[in-house]
């Protein structure tokens, strides 16, 4: 009898349940509850479900005591040069091995390949001045960077927080994975949550900064872009941007390769794989690995709340930057450009462009801004990659 009791006691002590009663174990319970909230938001409220469900489940798995699927202490030792990747392969859990794809920048780059294969850059080629709106909408990156420094983050961490303003999940993950991996969880969650909340965040700012007259502006139909232009575009952008800012090579290179697969017309199978099967597989790996970084001891800190607040500020300032340049272009063009399309420069394709369309139609039911807003929207993707490249060159 005593032997049986001993066996049961040992099983209980070795089980994950006992971990909740260990020192700091209650934090894991909070994280599991938070993971359930995020799962609810992803599944029921449909907040970026493709990413948020994976992130939330990664968060759940990593905070189950005893599972050891992700071991942050191994990555700290790796960052300090004490161990090599071989040791991580040997001693790490499943999520440690998947996380290598985040750490190396592999997953965000492959996601960009898929985005390139899905994106029609036609509206941008038809109206190249959209690129200026895409650059103005990076204002949030700069403002959030300054604010993060004011709040006490070091340069690399502030840069990672700032890039939330680029409203581009893969870019934020790419940069944070390189500069401040310990902040990956909160930054990714902030970036994807606010992207889902763009229809709530942007409209009040857009309405506050524009007059009804400006919002009513109808824009001329875009010219038809030839197939040749669409094929040359990714080659030109890749060569020019990468030569000027080599740190952008993984993101811009993959984005433009994906787009070339789409436009060249002879690689239909590859385009199909890039935008469907590959994109889905990488999304699963990326989301679960990012979720895995949200270990309780690292996530439940004051800095997470500060990052969430700064992320919101970054999105707001990016919208302000885009709309203000849109207003300037409205004046310069003699009222031919609707300033509402400026807000779409924050990337977040195609959500931000849809918001411009909805707001434009509220002001004038005959207004069709969607295709005009897609120009700044895809320009924002290039703009945020360039901003990330600059920050990586500065702090990497």
């Amino acid at each position: 009898m005593e032997r049986i009791v001993d066996i049961f006691t040992r099983i209980l002590i070795d089980s994950g349940f006992s971990g909740f009663f260990a020192d700091g174990g209650w934090k894991n319970l909070i994280m599991i509850a938070l993971a359930c909230v995020l799962l609810y938001l992803g599944i029921v409220k449909k907040f970026e479900p493709l990413l948020l469900v994976g992130i939330a489940f990664g968060m759940l798995l990593t905070n189950l005591p005893g599972a050891h699927l992700y071991n942050p202490e191994l990555w700290d030792a790796y960052s300090d040069g004490e161990i090599t990747l071989t040791k991580i392969f040997h001693d790490g859990g499943l999520l440690d091995i998947l996380y290598i794809g985040v750490k190396s920048g592999l997953y965000p780059s492959l996601i960009f390949l898929g985005i390139g294969a899905m994106t029609d850059f036609g509206p941008l080629i038809a109206n190249p001045s959209s690129l200026l709106l895409g650059s103005a909408a990076q204002l949030g990156v700069c403002c959030a960077f300054i604010l993060a420094v004011v709040f006490g983050f070091d340069g690399a961490a502030a840069a990672s927080i700032g890039i939330i303003g680029g409203a581009d999940g893969p870019t934020a993950i790419f940069l944070t994975g390189k500069l401040a991996p310990s902040l990956l969880g909160p930054i990714a969650i902030a970036a994807y949550s606010y992207m889902a909340l763009i229809p709530l965040i942007q409209p009040p700012i857009m309405r506050a900064l524009t007059t009804p007259e400006e919002r009513k502006t109808k824009m001329d139909q875009l010219r038809v872009v030839s197939k040749g232009e669409k094929i040359v575009f990714p080659i030109v952008v890749a060569v020019f941007v990468i030569l000027l800012l080599p740190a952008t090579a993984p993101l811009i290179g993959c984005l433009m390769l994906g787009n070339l697969l789409r436009e060249c017309g002879v690689t239909d199978r590859l385009q199909d794989t890039a935008q469907n099967a590959m994109m889905n597989i990488v999304t699963i790996f990326l989301s679960i690995s990012v979720g895995a970084t949200t270990v309780a001891s690292n996530f439940l800190r004051l800095q997470t709340i500060v990052i969430i607040i700064l992320g919101l500020a970054a999105f707001a300032f990016s919208t302000v930057g885009g709309v203000l340049l849109g207003k300037l272009m409205y004046k310069i063009s003699g009222g031919k450009i609707n300033p509402l399309i400026g807000s779409a420069g924050v990337s977040a394709v195609p959500m931000a462009a849809r918001v411009s369309q909805v707001e434009g139609r509220k002001a004038n039911p005959f207004n069709y801004l969607l295709m005009h807003a897609m120009g700044p929207n895809v320009a924002g993707v290039i703009g945020s990659a360039v901003a990330a490249g600059f920050l990586l060159a500065l702090f990497g």
Binding site: L132, G134, A136, Q138
Partner: protein, 114 residues
Amino acid sequence: MKNLFHLFNSDMSIGESILYSVLGMAIVFLMLAVLMYIIKLVGFIMKRMEEKERLSTGSETAGEEAISAPPDKGDLLILNGVPARTAAIVMALVADSLKKPINELRFKSIREVR
């Protein structure tokens, strides 16, 4: 985990952060502005090349009447004196008999057989 956050006590001064921000914004803006002009230039060159191609195709069939084909095809349809209305009817009939949308077909020329 390394602590990258010390409340209101960063390793970087606010002045430095403003300087980096202004520099970053300027670089992003300049790069995309130059890219804008490059795209415009490429568009201009491509347009000229397409016009030249179109003109050379036209000179090979000098004296023949030409109208634009459906916009997504970008080819010339040679009518050989056939009225545009008659040509449109012929194209519609061919599309109907082949059971295919007219924009998926490519008509090179229409000639009246005497």
